[in-house]
Symmetry: C2
Subunit: 289 residues, 2 copies
Amino acid sequence: MARLFREIMSSCLALEQPLRVAYLGPEGTFSQAAALKHFGQAVISKPMAAIDEVFREVVAGAVNFGVVPVENSTEGAVNHTLDSFLEHDIVICGEVELRIHHHLLVGETTKTDRITRIYSHAQSLAQCRKWLDAHYPSVERVAVSSNADAAKRVKSEWNSAAIAGDMAAQLYGLSKIAEKIEDRPDNSTRFLIIGNQEVPPTGDDKTSIIVSMRNKPGALHELLMPFHSNGIDLTRIETRPSRSGKWTYVFFIDCIGHYQEPLIKDVLEKIGREAVALKVLGSYPKAVL
Amino acid sequence: MARLFREIMSSCLALEQPLRVAYLGPEGTFSQAAALKHFGQAVISKPMAAIDEVFREVVAGAVNFGVVPVENSTEGAVNHTLDSFLEHDIVICGEVELRIHHHLLVGETTKTDRITRIYSHAQSLAQCRKWLDAHYPSVERVAVSSNADAAKRVKSEWNSAAIAGDMAAQLYGLSKIAEKIEDRPDNSTRFLIIGNQEVPPTGDDKTSIIVSMRNKPGALHELLMPFHSNGIDLTRIETRPSRSGKWTYVFFIDCIGHYQEPLIKDVLEKIGREAVALKVLGSYPKAVL
Protein backbone atom coordinates (compact mmCIF):
# COMPACT_ATOMS: atom_id res chain seq x y z
CA MET A 1 0.00 0.00 0.00
CA ALA A 2 2.82 2.34 0.99
CA ARG A 3 4.42 1.78 -2.41
CA LEU A 4 1.18 2.32 -4.32
CA PHE A 5 0.52 5.48 -2.36
CA ARG A 6 3.99 6.79 -3.06
CA GLU A 7 3.48 6.11 -6.77
CA ILE A 8 0.07 7.78 -6.95
CA MET A 9 1.17 10.59 -4.63
CA SER A 10 4.25 11.28 -6.72
CA SER A 11 2.28 11.29 -9.97
CA CYS A 12 -0.18 13.71 -8.31
CA LEU A 13 2.71 15.86 -7.13
CA ALA A 14 4.31 15.77 -10.60
CA LEU A 15 1.03 17.06 -12.01
CA GLU A 16 0.62 19.40 -9.03
CA GLN A 17 -2.68 17.70 -8.18
CA PRO A 18 -3.55 16.70 -4.64
CA LEU A 19 -4.97 13.20 -4.04
CA ARG A 20 -8.76 13.16 -4.40
CA VAL A 21 -10.88 10.90 -2.17
CA ALA A 22 -14.67 10.34 -2.34
CA TYR A 23 -16.56 9.13 0.75
CA LEU A 24 -20.12 8.51 1.89
CA GLY A 25 -21.19 12.01 2.95
CA PRO A 26 -22.36 14.52 3.94
CA GLU A 27 -19.45 16.00 5.89
CA GLY A 28 -19.14 14.56 9.38
CA THR A 29 -19.84 10.87 8.61
CA PHE A 30 -17.77 8.04 10.03
CA SER A 31 -16.70 7.37 6.42
CA GLN A 32 -15.06 10.81 6.42
CA ALA A 33 -13.39 9.99 9.75
CA ALA A 34 -12.10 6.75 8.18
CA ALA A 35 -10.79 8.70 5.15
CA LEU A 36 -8.98 11.09 7.51
CA LYS A 37 -7.49 8.20 9.50
CA HIS A 38 -6.21 6.56 6.31
CA PHE A 39 -5.15 9.50 4.14
CA GLY A 40 -4.60 12.34 6.61
CA GLN A 41 -5.59 15.96 5.98
CA ALA A 42 -3.56 16.57 2.80
CA VAL A 43 -6.18 15.33 0.35
CA ILE A 44 -9.22 16.81 -1.37
CA SER A 45 -12.16 14.88 0.04
CA LYS A 46 -15.48 14.75 -1.75
CA PRO A 47 -18.70 13.81 0.08
CA MET A 48 -21.12 11.71 -2.01
CA ALA A 49 -24.85 11.21 -1.33
CA ALA A 50 -24.83 7.40 -1.56
CA ILE A 51 -22.47 4.40 -1.44
CA ASP A 52 -23.17 3.66 -5.09
CA GLU A 53 -22.07 7.18 -6.05
CA VAL A 54 -18.71 6.67 -4.32
CA PHE A 55 -18.22 3.59 -6.53
CA ARG A 56 -19.25 5.48 -9.69
CA GLU A 57 -16.95 8.39 -8.88
CA VAL A 58 -13.98 6.01 -8.55
CA VAL A 59 -14.85 4.04 -11.71
CA ALA A 60 -15.19 7.30 -13.67
CA GLY A 61 -11.72 8.35 -12.50
CA ALA A 62 -13.06 11.57 -10.96
CA VAL A 63 -11.25 10.65 -7.72
CA ASN A 64 -8.19 8.49 -6.92
CA PHE A 65 -9.87 6.54 -4.11
CA GLY A 66 -13.22 6.00 -2.40
CA VAL A 67 -14.01 5.13 1.23
CA VAL A 68 -17.09 2.99 2.00
CA PRO A 69 -18.28 1.10 5.12
CA VAL A 70 -18.38 -2.69 4.64
CA GLU A 71 -19.08 -4.27 8.02
CA ASN A 72 -20.05 -3.33 11.56
CA SER A 73 -19.18 -5.58 14.47
CA THR A 74 -22.69 -5.30 15.98
CA GLU A 75 -24.92 -5.05 12.93
CA GLY A 76 -23.02 -7.05 10.31
CA ALA A 77 -22.52 -6.51 6.61
CA VAL A 78 -23.32 -3.25 4.82
CA ASN A 79 -25.32 -4.77 1.97
CA HIS A 80 -25.22 -1.70 -0.28
CA THR A 81 -21.44 -1.91 -0.37
CA LEU A 82 -21.35 -5.66 -1.04
CA ASP A 83 -23.95 -5.35 -3.80
CA SER A 84 -22.05 -2.44 -5.39
CA PHE A 85 -19.09 -4.80 -5.97
CA LEU A 86 -21.40 -6.94 -8.14
CA GLU A 87 -22.15 -3.96 -10.36
CA HIS A 88 -18.78 -2.18 -10.68
CA ASP A 89 -15.29 -3.28 -11.70
CA ILE A 90 -13.19 -1.88 -8.93
CA VAL A 91 -10.17 -2.80 -6.82
CA ILE A 92 -10.01 -2.95 -3.01
CA CYS A 93 -6.78 -1.14 -2.04
CA GLY A 94 -7.01 -1.13 1.74
CA GLU A 95 -9.14 -1.34 4.87
CA VAL A 96 -9.59 0.89 7.92
CA GLU A 97 -11.17 0.00 11.24
CA LEU A 98 -12.79 2.64 13.45
CA ARG A 99 -14.22 2.34 16.96
CA ILE A 100 -17.74 3.80 16.64
CA HIS A 101 -19.21 5.87 19.48
CA HIS A 102 -22.74 7.20 19.04
CA HIS A 103 -24.27 10.14 20.90
CA LEU A 104 -27.81 11.48 21.13
CA LEU A 105 -27.64 15.02 19.77
CA VAL A 106 -30.04 17.98 19.72
CA GLY A 107 -30.03 21.52 18.37
CA GLU A 108 -30.56 24.67 20.43
CA THR A 109 -34.31 24.80 19.85
CA THR A 110 -35.06 21.32 21.23
CA LYS A 111 -35.95 20.56 24.85
CA THR A 112 -34.83 17.06 25.87
CA ASP A 113 -38.25 16.12 27.29
CA ARG A 114 -40.02 17.12 24.07
CA ILE A 115 -38.25 14.78 21.62
CA THR A 116 -40.77 13.20 19.23
CA ARG A 117 -38.43 11.91 16.48
CA ILE A 118 -34.94 10.40 16.47
CA TYR A 119 -33.09 10.44 13.14
CA SER A 120 -30.08 8.33 12.14
CA HIS A 121 -28.81 5.82 9.60
CA ALA A 122 -30.61 2.47 9.90
CA GLN A 123 -27.31 0.80 10.92
CA SER A 124 -26.78 3.33 13.75
CA LEU A 125 -30.38 2.99 14.96
CA ALA A 126 -29.78 -0.78 15.06
CA GLN A 127 -26.45 -0.39 16.91
CA CYS A 128 -28.29 1.60 19.64
CA ARG A 129 -31.55 -0.37 19.58
CA LYS A 130 -31.48 -1.59 23.20
CA TRP A 131 -30.52 1.83 24.54
CA LEU A 132 -33.38 3.41 22.56
CA ASP A 133 -35.83 0.73 23.74
CA ALA A 134 -34.86 1.51 27.33
CA HIS A 135 -34.76 5.34 27.16
CA TYR A 136 -37.05 6.39 24.28
CA PRO A 137 -39.35 3.38 23.74
CA SER A 138 -42.22 5.34 22.20
CA VAL A 139 -40.32 7.96 20.19
CA GLU A 140 -40.45 7.50 16.41
CA ARG A 141 -37.14 6.36 14.85
CA VAL A 142 -36.54 7.65 11.32
CA ALA A 143 -33.84 6.10 9.14
CA VAL A 144 -32.08 8.60 6.87
CA SER A 145 -29.16 8.25 4.44
CA SER A 146 -26.34 8.80 6.98
CA ASN A 147 -25.91 9.89 10.60
CA ALA A 148 -24.30 13.16 9.50
CA ASP A 149 -27.44 13.81 7.45
CA ALA A 150 -29.46 13.17 10.63
CA ALA A 151 -27.31 15.69 12.52
CA LYS A 152 -27.74 18.25 9.75
CA ARG A 153 -31.54 17.89 9.93
CA VAL A 154 -31.98 18.29 13.67
CA LYS A 155 -29.89 21.47 13.67
CA SER A 156 -33.00 23.28 12.46
CA GLU A 157 -35.85 20.85 13.24
CA TRP A 158 -37.68 21.35 16.54
CA ASN A 159 -38.24 18.49 18.99
CA SER A 160 -36.07 16.04 17.15
CA ALA A 161 -32.75 14.37 17.99
CA ALA A 162 -30.03 12.66 15.94
CA ILE A 163 -27.75 9.73 16.65
CA ALA A 164 -24.29 10.52 15.29
CA GLY A 165 -20.63 10.76 16.26
CA ASP A 166 -18.28 13.49 17.50
CA MET A 167 -17.39 14.89 14.06
CA ALA A 168 -21.05 15.46 13.17
CA ALA A 169 -21.80 16.98 16.60
CA GLN A 170 -19.00 19.53 16.23
CA LEU A 171 -19.67 20.26 12.58
CA TYR A 172 -23.37 21.01 13.07
CA GLY A 173 -23.01 22.62 16.51
CA LEU A 174 -25.23 20.15 18.38
CA SER A 175 -25.30 19.34 22.11
CA LYS A 176 -24.85 15.80 23.42
CA ILE A 177 -27.71 14.81 25.71
CA ALA A 178 -26.37 11.25 26.06
CA GLU A 179 -22.90 9.92 25.20
CA LYS A 180 -21.69 6.53 23.96
CA ILE A 181 -25.15 5.04 23.62
CA GLU A 182 -24.08 2.11 21.38
CA ASP A 183 -25.31 -1.24 22.77
CA ARG A 184 -21.92 -2.94 22.57
CA PRO A 185 -18.83 -1.20 23.99
CA ASP A 186 -16.56 -2.70 21.28
CA ASN A 187 -18.81 -1.40 18.46
CA SER A 188 -16.51 -0.97 15.42
CA THR A 189 -16.86 -0.52 11.68
CA ARG A 190 -14.55 -1.69 8.91
CA PHE A 191 -14.24 0.56 5.86
CA LEU A 192 -12.75 -0.34 2.50
CA ILE A 193 -10.53 1.88 0.38
CA ILE A 194 -11.54 1.34 -3.26
CA GLY A 195 -9.62 2.41 -6.34
CA ASN A 196 -8.54 1.43 -9.83
CA GLN A 197 -4.99 0.18 -9.28
CA GLU A 198 -3.84 -3.10 -7.76
CA VAL A 199 -1.75 -3.03 -4.61
CA PRO A 200 1.58 -4.97 -4.47
CA PRO A 201 2.21 -7.45 -1.59
CA THR A 202 3.42 -6.12 1.79
CA GLY A 203 3.82 -9.51 3.49
CA ASP A 204 0.76 -9.00 5.74
CA ASP A 205 -2.17 -8.91 3.34
CA LYS A 206 -5.76 -10.00 2.89
CA THR A 207 -7.53 -10.98 -0.35
CA SER A 208 -11.23 -10.45 -1.07
CA ILE A 209 -13.12 -12.42 -3.72
CA ILE A 210 -16.70 -12.88 -4.95
CA VAL A 211 -17.67 -16.39 -6.09
CA SER A 212 -20.83 -17.89 -7.45
CA MET A 213 -21.10 -21.68 -7.55
CA ARG A 214 -23.39 -24.06 -9.41
CA ASN A 215 -26.62 -24.64 -7.45
CA LYS A 216 -25.87 -28.24 -6.44
CA PRO A 217 -25.35 -30.18 -3.20
CA GLY A 218 -21.93 -29.66 -1.64
CA ALA A 219 -21.12 -26.54 -3.69
CA LEU A 220 -20.06 -24.48 -0.68
CA HIS A 221 -17.97 -27.33 0.68
CA GLU A 222 -16.25 -27.67 -2.70
CA LEU A 223 -15.55 -23.94 -2.68
CA LEU A 224 -13.92 -24.03 0.76
CA MET A 225 -11.91 -27.24 0.22
CA PRO A 226 -8.93 -25.65 -1.65
CA PHE A 227 -8.53 -23.03 1.11
CA HIS A 228 -8.61 -25.73 3.76
CA SER A 229 -6.26 -28.21 2.08
CA ASN A 230 -3.70 -25.42 1.55
CA GLY A 231 -3.98 -24.13 5.12
CA ILE A 232 -5.28 -20.69 4.09
CA ASP A 233 -7.27 -18.93 6.79
CA LEU A 234 -10.66 -17.43 5.90
CA THR A 235 -11.46 -14.32 7.91
CA ARG A 236 -14.99 -13.80 6.65
CA ILE A 237 -17.74 -15.25 4.47
CA GLU A 238 -20.94 -13.42 3.54
CA THR A 239 -23.86 -14.63 1.43
CA ARG A 240 -25.83 -12.27 -0.82
CA PRO A 241 -28.56 -12.87 -3.40
CA SER A 242 -26.86 -13.23 -6.81
CA ARG A 243 -29.49 -11.07 -8.59
CA SER A 244 -29.33 -13.51 -11.48
CA GLY A 245 -31.99 -15.96 -10.32
CA LYS A 246 -34.37 -16.48 -7.40
CA TRP A 247 -32.75 -18.02 -4.28
CA THR A 248 -29.30 -18.17 -5.89
CA TYR A 249 -26.40 -16.70 -3.97
CA VAL A 250 -22.91 -15.29 -4.31
CA PHE A 251 -20.29 -15.64 -1.59
CA PHE A 252 -18.03 -12.79 -0.48
CA ILE A 253 -14.89 -14.35 0.99
CA ASP A 254 -11.88 -12.74 2.69
CA CYS A 255 -8.73 -14.82 3.22
CA ILE A 256 -5.25 -14.19 4.55
CA GLY A 257 -2.55 -13.70 1.86
CA HIS A 258 -1.96 -11.81 -1.39
CA TYR A 259 -3.25 -13.10 -4.73
CA GLN A 260 0.25 -12.74 -6.23
CA GLU A 261 1.61 -15.31 -3.73
CA PRO A 262 1.89 -18.69 -5.52
CA LEU A 263 -0.20 -20.54 -2.90
CA ILE A 264 -3.15 -18.12 -3.10
CA LYS A 265 -2.85 -17.91 -6.90
CA ASP A 266 -3.05 -21.71 -7.07
CA VAL A 267 -6.11 -21.86 -4.78
CA LEU A 268 -7.92 -19.16 -6.76
CA GLU A 269 -7.22 -21.01 -10.03
CA LYS A 270 -8.66 -24.22 -8.54
CA ILE A 271 -11.79 -22.40 -7.39
CA GLY A 272 -12.09 -20.62 -10.72
CA ARG A 273 -12.28 -23.96 -12.53
CA GLU A 274 -15.28 -25.10 -10.44
CA ALA A 275 -17.07 -21.77 -10.03
CA VAL A 276 -19.70 -20.24 -12.30
CA ALA A 277 -17.91 -16.94 -11.75
CA LEU A 278 -14.96 -15.76 -9.69
CA LYS A 279 -13.91 -12.13 -9.27
CA VAL A 280 -10.84 -11.11 -7.30
CA LEU A 281 -11.73 -7.78 -5.67
CA GLY A 282 -8.18 -7.14 -4.56
CA SER A 283 -5.37 -7.87 -2.12
CA TYR A 284 -4.48 -5.22 0.44
CA PRO A 285 -2.65 -4.73 3.74
CA LYS A 286 -4.57 -5.80 6.85
CA ALA A 287 -5.94 -2.93 8.94
CA VAL A 288 -3.79 -1.75 11.85
CA LEU A 289 -5.81 -0.82 14.92
CA MET B 1 -47.09 -29.96 10.12
CA ALA B 2 -50.56 -31.28 9.27
CA ARG B 3 -50.46 -33.51 12.33
CA LEU B 4 -49.24 -30.73 14.61
CA PHE B 5 -51.94 -28.42 13.30
CA ARG B 6 -54.61 -31.02 13.86
CA GLU B 7 -53.38 -31.47 17.43
CA ILE B 8 -53.25 -27.77 18.23
CA MET B 9 -56.48 -27.11 16.32
CA SER B 10 -58.29 -29.87 18.17
CA SER B 11 -57.02 -28.68 21.55
CA CYS B 12 -58.17 -25.17 20.61
CA LEU B 13 -61.54 -26.55 19.52
CA ALA B 14 -61.83 -28.57 22.73
CA LEU B 15 -61.30 -25.37 24.70
CA GLU B 16 -63.50 -23.45 22.23
CA GLN B 17 -60.53 -21.18 21.45
CA PRO B 18 -59.59 -20.25 17.88
CA LEU B 19 -55.92 -20.45 16.84
CA ARG B 20 -54.09 -17.20 17.61
CA VAL B 21 -51.36 -15.94 15.27
CA ALA B 22 -49.11 -12.89 15.73
CA TYR B 23 -47.50 -11.21 12.71
CA LEU B 24 -45.42 -8.14 11.86
CA GLY B 25 -48.12 -5.47 11.54
CA PRO B 26 -49.89 -3.16 11.14
CA GLU B 27 -52.76 -4.74 9.17
CA GLY B 28 -51.99 -5.03 5.48
CA THR B 29 -48.34 -6.18 5.67
CA PHE B 30 -46.97 -9.01 3.55
CA SER B 31 -46.49 -10.87 6.87
CA GLN B 32 -50.27 -10.79 7.29
CA ALA B 33 -50.68 -12.05 3.70
CA ALA B 34 -48.24 -14.89 4.56
CA ALA B 35 -50.25 -15.70 7.71
CA LEU B 36 -53.44 -15.82 5.62
CA LYS B 37 -51.80 -18.07 3.01
CA HIS B 38 -50.59 -20.48 5.71
CA PHE B 39 -53.45 -20.50 8.23
CA GLY B 40 -56.48 -19.29 6.24
CA GLN B 41 -59.14 -16.94 7.60
CA ALA B 42 -60.28 -19.00 10.60
CA VAL B 43 -57.73 -17.67 13.06
CA ILE B 44 -57.42 -14.64 15.31
CA SER B 45 -54.52 -12.67 13.92
CA LYS B 46 -52.67 -10.13 16.01
CA PRO B 47 -50.55 -7.38 14.40
CA MET B 48 -47.36 -6.53 16.35
CA ALA B 49 -45.26 -3.35 15.99
CA ALA B 50 -41.89 -5.11 15.55
CA ILE B 51 -40.38 -8.48 14.67
CA ASP B 52 -38.99 -8.83 18.18
CA GLU B 53 -42.50 -8.41 19.61
CA VAL B 54 -43.80 -11.28 17.48
CA PHE B 55 -41.08 -13.47 19.05
CA ARG B 56 -41.93 -12.27 22.58
CA GLU B 57 -45.65 -12.88 22.04
CA VAL B 58 -44.96 -16.49 20.99
CA VAL B 59 -42.47 -17.14 23.83
CA ALA B 60 -44.98 -15.74 26.35
CA GLY B 61 -47.64 -18.13 25.02
CA ALA B 62 -50.01 -15.25 24.22
CA VAL B 63 -50.40 -16.70 20.68
CA ASN B 64 -49.98 -20.20 19.20
CA PHE B 65 -47.80 -19.09 16.30
CA GLY B 66 -45.96 -16.09 14.90
CA VAL B 67 -45.21 -15.13 11.26
CA VAL B 68 -41.98 -13.23 10.47
CA PRO B 69 -40.11 -12.47 7.21
CA VAL B 70 -36.68 -14.15 7.05
CA GLU B 71 -35.31 -13.62 3.53
CA ASN B 72 -36.07 -11.73 0.34
CA SER B 73 -34.80 -13.00 -3.02
CA THR B 74 -33.58 -9.51 -4.06
CA GLU B 75 -32.45 -7.97 -0.79
CA GLY B 76 -31.29 -10.99 1.21
CA ALA B 77 -31.61 -11.84 4.89
CA VAL B 78 -33.91 -10.02 7.30
CA ASN B 79 -31.34 -9.42 10.03
CA HIS B 80 -33.85 -8.54 12.76
CA THR B 81 -35.41 -11.97 12.41
CA LEU B 82 -32.08 -13.83 12.40
CA ASP B 83 -30.85 -11.89 15.44
CA SER B 84 -34.13 -12.56 17.30
CA PHE B 85 -33.36 -16.30 17.13
CA LEU B 86 -30.18 -15.60 19.11
CA GLU B 87 -32.22 -14.02 21.90
CA HIS B 88 -35.30 -16.23 22.16
CA ASP B 89 -35.86 -19.96 22.61
CA ILE B 90 -38.35 -20.72 19.91
CA VAL B 91 -39.16 -23.43 17.36
CA ILE B 92 -39.50 -22.97 13.59
CA CYS B 93 -42.69 -24.84 12.61
CA GLY B 94 -42.98 -23.97 8.92
CA GLU B 95 -42.15 -21.63 6.05
CA VAL B 96 -44.24 -19.72 3.50
CA GLU B 97 -43.07 -18.15 0.28
CA LEU B 98 -44.87 -15.16 -1.25
CA ARG B 99 -44.32 -13.41 -4.58
CA ILE B 100 -43.95 -9.72 -3.64
CA HIS B 101 -45.39 -7.02 -5.90
CA HIS B 102 -44.88 -3.40 -4.86
CA HIS B 103 -46.96 -0.42 -6.00
CA LEU B 104 -46.52 3.33 -5.60
CA LEU B 105 -49.57 4.50 -3.66
CA VAL B 106 -51.05 7.89 -2.84
CA GLY B 107 -54.04 9.24 -0.90
CA GLU B 108 -56.80 11.43 -2.32
CA THR B 109 -55.10 14.70 -1.35
CA THR B 110 -51.83 14.07 -3.22
CA LYS B 111 -51.14 15.16 -6.78
CA THR B 112 -48.69 12.82 -8.50
CA ASP B 113 -46.42 15.67 -9.68
CA ARG B 114 -46.12 17.09 -6.17
CA ILE B 115 -44.64 14.07 -4.36
CA THR B 116 -41.83 15.14 -2.01
CA ARG B 117 -41.50 12.03 0.19
CA ILE B 118 -41.78 8.30 -0.44
CA TYR B 119 -42.32 6.09 2.62
CA SER B 120 -41.75 2.35 2.89
CA HIS B 121 -39.87 -0.33 4.81
CA ALA B 122 -36.11 -0.17 4.13
CA GLN B 123 -36.27 -3.63 2.46
CA SER B 124 -39.05 -2.49 0.08
CA LEU B 125 -37.21 0.74 -0.76
CA ALA B 126 -34.18 -1.42 -1.59
CA GLN B 127 -36.25 -3.84 -3.70
CA CYS B 128 -37.46 -0.88 -5.82
CA ARG B 129 -34.19 1.11 -5.75
CA LYS B 130 -33.54 1.13 -9.50
CA TRP B 131 -37.13 2.05 -10.34
CA LEU B 132 -37.00 4.91 -7.81
CA ASP B 133 -33.62 6.09 -9.16
CA ALA B 134 -35.15 6.23 -12.65
CA HIS B 135 -38.54 7.80 -11.80
CA TYR B 136 -38.08 9.76 -8.56
CA PRO B 137 -34.32 10.37 -8.30
CA SER B 138 -34.55 13.49 -6.13
CA VAL B 139 -37.53 12.60 -3.93
CA GLU B 140 -36.67 11.85 -0.30
CA ARG B 141 -37.03 8.16 0.69
CA VAL B 142 -38.07 7.58 4.28
CA ALA B 143 -37.72 4.13 5.85
CA VAL B 144 -40.51 3.29 8.31
CA SER B 145 -41.30 0.15 10.32
CA SER B 146 -43.36 -1.64 7.62
CA ASN B 147 -44.89 -0.93 4.22
CA ALA B 148 -48.39 -1.09 5.68
CA ASP B 149 -47.30 1.61 8.15
CA ALA B 150 -46.13 3.67 5.15
CA ALA B 151 -49.55 3.22 3.49
CA LYS B 152 -51.31 4.23 6.72
CA ARG B 153 -49.24 7.46 6.89
CA VAL B 154 -49.80 8.67 3.34
CA LYS B 155 -53.56 8.24 3.67
CA SER B 156 -53.58 11.56 5.50
CA GLU B 157 -50.21 13.15 4.63
CA TRP B 158 -50.14 15.56 1.68
CA ASN B 159 -47.63 15.23 -1.15
CA SER B 160 -46.29 11.91 -0.01
CA ALA B 161 -46.45 8.39 -1.47
CA ALA B 162 -45.98 4.89 -0.07
CA ILE B 163 -44.54 1.71 -1.52
CA ALA B 164 -46.69 -1.22 -0.43
CA GLY B 165 -48.69 -4.18 -1.72
CA ASP B 166 -52.31 -4.82 -2.74
CA MET B 167 -53.58 -5.59 0.77
CA ALA B 168 -52.31 -2.27 2.14
CA ALA B 169 -53.65 -0.34 -0.88
CA GLN B 170 -57.16 -1.75 -0.36
CA LEU B 171 -57.11 -1.47 3.41
CA TYR B 172 -56.11 2.20 3.48
CA GLY B 173 -58.07 3.22 0.33
CA LEU B 174 -55.06 4.40 -1.68
CA SER B 175 -54.69 4.77 -5.48
CA LYS B 176 -51.94 3.04 -7.42
CA ILE B 177 -49.98 5.53 -9.52
CA ALA B 178 -47.49 2.83 -10.63
CA GLU B 179 -47.85 -0.95 -10.40
CA LYS B 180 -45.29 -3.75 -9.89
CA ILE B 181 -42.35 -1.42 -9.44
CA GLU B 182 -40.03 -4.05 -7.89
CA ASP B 183 -36.65 -4.20 -9.69
CA ARG B 184 -36.71 -7.98 -10.17
CA PRO B 185 -39.83 -9.67 -11.59
CA ASP B 186 -39.26 -12.81 -9.45
CA ASN B 187 -39.04 -10.77 -6.21
CA SER B 188 -40.19 -13.13 -3.41
CA THR B 189 -40.03 -13.29 0.36
CA ARG B 190 -39.77 -16.34 2.62
CA PHE B 191 -41.58 -16.14 5.96
CA LEU B 192 -41.12 -18.44 8.94
CA ILE B 193 -43.86 -19.78 11.17
CA ILE B 194 -42.54 -19.76 14.74
CA GLY B 195 -44.05 -21.53 17.74
CA ASN B 196 -43.32 -23.51 20.88
CA GLN B 197 -43.92 -27.10 19.73
CA GLU B 198 -41.71 -29.27 17.55
CA VAL B 199 -43.08 -30.55 14.25
CA PRO B 200 -42.91 -34.28 13.42
CA PRO B 201 -41.34 -35.46 10.11
CA THR B 202 -43.42 -35.34 6.92
CA GLY B 203 -40.81 -36.90 4.59
CA ASP B 204 -40.07 -33.59 2.83
CA ASP B 205 -38.53 -31.38 5.49
CA LYS B 206 -35.86 -28.79 6.13
CA THR B 207 -33.85 -28.22 9.31
CA SER B 208 -32.53 -24.86 10.53
CA ILE B 209 -29.64 -24.53 12.97
CA ILE B 210 -27.45 -21.79 14.48
CA VAL B 211 -23.80 -22.70 15.07
CA SER B 212 -20.87 -20.80 16.49
CA MET B 213 -17.40 -22.25 15.96
CA ARG B 214 -14.05 -21.61 17.61
CA ASN B 215 -12.27 -18.69 15.95
CA LYS B 216 -9.54 -20.76 14.26
CA PRO B 217 -8.40 -21.51 10.69
CA GLY B 218 -10.61 -24.01 8.88
CA ALA B 219 -13.51 -23.70 11.35
CA LEU B 220 -16.15 -23.22 8.64
CA HIS B 221 -14.75 -26.08 6.59
CA GLU B 222 -14.87 -28.32 9.66
CA LEU B 223 -18.49 -27.30 10.21
CA LEU B 224 -19.53 -28.17 6.66
CA MET B 225 -17.58 -31.45 6.42
CA PRO B 226 -20.14 -33.69 8.20
CA PHE B 227 -22.94 -32.42 5.91
CA HIS B 228 -20.80 -33.07 2.85
CA SER B 229 -19.53 -36.52 3.80
CA ASN B 230 -23.11 -37.64 4.54
CA GLY B 231 -24.51 -36.19 1.31
CA ILE B 232 -26.81 -33.72 3.05
CA ASP B 233 -27.72 -30.71 0.93
CA LEU B 234 -27.39 -27.22 2.44
CA THR B 235 -29.98 -24.80 1.09
CA ARG B 236 -28.67 -21.69 2.79
CA ILE B 237 -25.91 -20.28 4.96
CA GLU B 238 -25.92 -16.82 6.53
CA THR B 239 -23.29 -15.15 8.70
CA ARG B 240 -24.22 -12.76 11.52
CA PRO B 241 -22.16 -11.07 14.24
CA SER B 242 -22.25 -13.32 17.31
CA ARG B 243 -22.72 -10.36 19.71
CA SER B 244 -20.34 -12.10 22.11
CA GLY B 245 -17.07 -10.63 20.80
CA LYS B 246 -15.85 -8.26 18.11
CA TRP B 247 -15.57 -9.82 14.61
CA THR B 248 -16.87 -13.19 15.80
CA TYR B 249 -19.73 -14.76 13.87
CA VAL B 250 -22.54 -17.27 14.09
CA PHE B 251 -23.72 -19.27 11.09
CA PHE B 252 -27.39 -19.80 10.26
CA ILE B 253 -27.63 -22.99 8.22
CA ASP B 254 -30.62 -24.64 6.52
CA CYS B 255 -30.27 -28.23 5.31
CA ILE B 256 -32.59 -30.80 3.74
CA GLY B 257 -33.98 -33.41 6.15
CA HIS B 258 -35.59 -33.68 9.62
CA TYR B 259 -33.51 -33.70 12.80
CA GLN B 260 -35.29 -36.87 13.95
CA GLU B 261 -33.92 -38.77 10.91
CA PRO B 262 -30.88 -40.83 12.05
CA LEU B 263 -28.55 -39.34 9.39
CA ILE B 264 -29.31 -35.71 10.32
CA LYS B 265 -29.22 -36.56 14.03
CA ASP B 266 -25.78 -38.08 13.57
CA VAL B 267 -24.45 -35.06 11.62
CA LEU B 268 -25.80 -32.61 14.22
CA GLU B 269 -24.15 -34.63 17.02
CA LYS B 270 -20.81 -34.52 15.18
CA ILE B 271 -21.10 -30.75 14.69
CA GLY B 272 -22.18 -30.27 18.29
CA ARG B 273 -18.95 -31.91 19.51
CA GLU B 274 -16.79 -29.40 17.58
CA ALA B 275 -18.93 -26.27 17.94
CA VAL B 276 -18.81 -23.68 20.71
CA ALA B 277 -22.60 -23.70 20.56
CA LEU B 278 -25.22 -25.42 18.42
CA LYS B 279 -28.95 -24.67 18.54
CA VAL B 280 -31.48 -26.59 16.46
CA LEU B 281 -34.16 -24.04 15.55
CA GLY B 282 -36.50 -26.70 14.18
CA SER B 283 -37.40 -29.06 11.37
CA TYR B 284 -40.42 -28.23 9.23
CA PRO B 285 -42.05 -29.05 5.88
CA LYS B 286 -40.55 -27.28 2.85
CA ALA B 287 -42.66 -24.44 1.45
CA VAL B 288 -45.01 -25.30 -1.40
CA LEU B 289 -45.23 -22.56 -4.04
